[in-house]
């Protein structure tokens, strides 16, 4: 209480409103509690980030400590179960050649997988139950497997389910980057030019039409975009470019580009409108035309913001799961051809997590992939936030 009154003495007048602030005069428990409670809840978002860090890494960690007595679910009967379920795709070549053209049942490899995942609900729950029980019994036979998995981690083959599993994350990383490049090459120019149009050229009515439309696009569920890509876009693009594999990096990239457009557009537009009006007026007063002002004055002034927009667009595409699952073909190929199927990091987690035995090596590797994705997007956001914003502020304030 004494502390409060002291504070009150220091400045009784609110610096912002210039009015006398009475709240500081009297100490009330209800107010004090409310403030502390609100503050506590506000820390929740920080806590969640910390928890995500901790728990995603925790599940990925056993892969690096093969000798620790981490309980494993490698008891014989679960292993049998796994091999039984995945009998079809033991062979590496079968997996990569299949190219899983979802949507065409004629492909034998595909229909085999379909049958295997059909009625998955019952399977997973029973599987979980057995593995859960064994989890508590625990046998240490997973150590060797972890060590072997660690060696294959930087390989180019992603064959998690076989006699000799290989977890070559490199293939997935290459696939993810390939698709990211395609989608950003597609989305960034369109979104930035459209934002420039909205910020510099469009009339008021046009603006009020474009901005809500793009907000609407941002609200499109990614599974709907994925569905559109799978059903319509894939066939449409195949008719134009005449490539062999119907679902490939190109289709997936375009579809993810559609998902990334609203993000890039919104942030770019914000950056463009944040450029001070004086720039615009000065340029026009010097005799430059509207388009010259837009291109040579406003656009350069907003480059850090546009850079941030592209970064966040990359982050969106990098972690996109549903579109990747539905439209990329999901074969871990690493060629440079954009018309080949690829498998991304996020899609791998989405496709395989439901079918792994909790706690085994494959499970840990999937969490390791998750950690990679998390670190990557966290870093991208941090760069966009601190580096770019600082630069933008400096530039606009003319320092």
């Amino acid at each position: 209480m004494a502390k409060k009154t002291k504070k009150g003495k220091k400045s009784i007048i609110d610096s912002e409103t210039g009015l006398i602030d009475i709240t500081r005069k009297k100490f009330r428990w209800s107010d004090y509690l409310a403030e502390k409670l609100i503050k506590g809840v506000a820390f929740l978002s920080i806590t969640i980030i910390a928890l995500i860090f901790f728990f995603v890494f925790r599940e990925a960690f056993p892969i690096f400590t093969p000798d620790k007595s981490q309980p494993k679910t490698e008891a014989t009967n679960t292993k049998d179960l796994v091999q039984e379920t995945y009998g079809e795709i033991v062979d590496n070549s079968a997996n990569s050649n299949a190219q899983e053209t979802y949507g065409e049942v004629t492909d034998p490899a595909n229909s085999a997988e379909v049958q295997e995942t059909y009625g998955e609900v019952v399977d997973t729950t029973t599987q979980n139950k057995t593995s859960e029980k064994i989890y508590q019994v625990s046998s240490g036979s997973g150590a060797d497997e972890n060590r072997a998995a660690l060696k294959t981690l930087l390989g180019k083959e992603w064959v998690p389910v076989s006699e000799k599993p290989r977890y070559g994350i490199l293939a997935l990383i290459i696939g993810t980057f390939k698709i990211t490049i395609i989608s950003i090459l597609f989305a960034a120019p369109i979104a930035i030019l459209a934002a420039l149009y909205t910020a510099s050229f469009a009339g008021k009515r046009m603006k009020e039409f474009i901005k809500p439309a793009i907000e609407l696009l941002a609200g499109f569920p990614s599974v709907v975009i994925g569905f559109f890509a799978l059903m319509v876009l894939a066939t449409f693009l195949q008719n134009i470019f005449q490539y062999d594999t119907r679902l490939n990096a190109f289709v997936g990239g375009i579809a993810m580009g559609i998902a990334a457009i609203p993000i890039i557009f919104t942030i770019t537009e914000d950056a463009l409108t944040a450029v001070p009006k004086t720039y615009n007026e000065a340029s026009l007063a010097l005799g430059a035309s509207k388009w010259q002002t837009a291109f040579f004055v406003i656009l350069p002034a907003a480059t850090p913001g546009i850079f941030a927009a592209i970064l966040l667009g990359i982050g969106r595409v990098f972690g996109e799961t549903m579109i990747a699952l539905m439209a990329t073909g999901n074969a871990p190929l690493i060629g440079a051809n954009p018309f080949e199927s690829v498998r991304t990091l996020a899609a791998t987690i989405g496709a395989e997590m439901a079918e792994v035995v909790f706690g085994d090596t494959h499970y840990n590797v999937l969490f390791l992939i998750g950690s990679l994705l998390f670190v990557f997007t966290f870093a991208i956001n941090a760069i966009a936030e601190f580096y770019v914003k600082g630069k933008l502020m400096k530039r606009i304030q003319g320092k």
């Binding site: 050229f201 469009a202 989405g350 998390f374």
Partner: protein, 302 residues
């Protein structure tokens, strides 16, 4: 500078280029809507919306998926909206804009907004199911498996984390539109800070809280990746009756029907129908949010 003809043509070309980019985006949106509406509209009927799937999912309706989606977003909102609103209140009413705490929270919120949704799924699995759920089983069920597996509660809570930043951002924007004079007047009349917030600031920004809730619901209804392995099921014969049940969701239904069902061509109408229902749902929600927000912004100016 003397404007010459060449420059003029260049200007028209460049303006045309930017305009066509904007139009291309609009065209993409319209194409997607048209294709889905044309493909799905014949499927939409009262029966489709209110009946269970039949004949190995090749016929019948999507009622369980609609019901599951509704339940998911309700539980999610109950968890996300209060916490999101309180965080926004802290950021606008209590925290000093330049303090390290406020900056850290803002950074955390923005990070939450960009973390890929699949990571939330992993977190839900690693934290809610494998940690909280298993502990709950040990304490309440004597080691018997009940909570330590995917169910609607864990899926909804995972989704709540994902939609938390959406709520925070919208509510914050609304709180800022409440004029400073109103707060000052309330304080001058002798109300405490908390009374001011409760009786003046929150009622003044109720439409913002609504917008946040609607946007969160729309996001939560459409996301699939976080619930892939925290509770969504391909098919359950009964509606979820307790928090420990698995459930069907529209988005997941679309995903499994298109990629994993035995006969994709046969179920094509159902796929289009389900997609149309999901799209219409998110559309209605989004448009009402846009209208609400537009009103709030107008209020701010006027």
């Amino acid at each position: 500078m003397i404007k010459n003809k060449k420059d003029n043509i260049k200007g028209i070309l460049i303006e045309g280029l930017t305009l066509s980019s904007a139009l291309l985006i609009i065209a993409i949106i319209l194409t997607m809507i048209t294709v889905i509406v044309i493909g799905g509209k014949s499927q939409i009927s009262w029966e489709f919306l209110t009946s269970f799937p039949r004949d190995g999912m090749t016929k019948g309706g999507i009622f369980p998926a609609i019901y599951g989606t509704a339940l998911l977003v309700i539980i999610m909102s109950v968890a996300a909206v209060p916490f999101g609103t309180i965080t926004a209140i802290y950021l606008t009413e209590y925290a000093n804009e330049n303090s390290i705490i406020a900056k850290t929270i803002r950074f955390a919120v923005r990070t939450l907004a960009v973390i890929p949704s699949i990571i939330y799924g992993l977190f839900g699995l690693g934290f809610f199911i494998k940690f909280v759920g298993v502990q709950m089983d040990n304490v309440f069920m004597g080691g018997q498996l009940k909570w330590g597996q995917p169910n609607i509660l864990w899926a909804s809570l995972t989704m709540a984390l994902l939609t938390l930043p959406v709520v925070i951002v919208s509510v914050e924007e609304a709180l800022k539109t409440v004029p400073k004079e109103l707060r000052a007047a309330s304080l001058a009349l002798g109300a405490t800070k908390w009374q001011t917030i409760w009786k003046v600031v929150i009622p003044g920004s109720i439409s913002g809280i609504m917008t946040g809730t609607i946007l969160a619901v729309s996001r939560g209804a459409g996301e699939v990746a976080p619930i892939l392995f925290t509770g969504a099921a391909y098919y359950v014969a009964t509606l979820p009756g307790s928090f420990a049940d698995q459930f069907m969701v529209l988005g997941y239904h679309i995903y499994v029907m298109t990629t994993q069902s035995a006969n994709v061509d046969q179920t094509l109408p159902i796929q289009f129908g389900t997609t149309l229902v999901l799209l219409a749902l998110t559309f209605i929600l989004n448009i009402s949010a846009i209208v609400l927000r537009y009103r709030i912004r107008k209020k701010k100016i006027g």
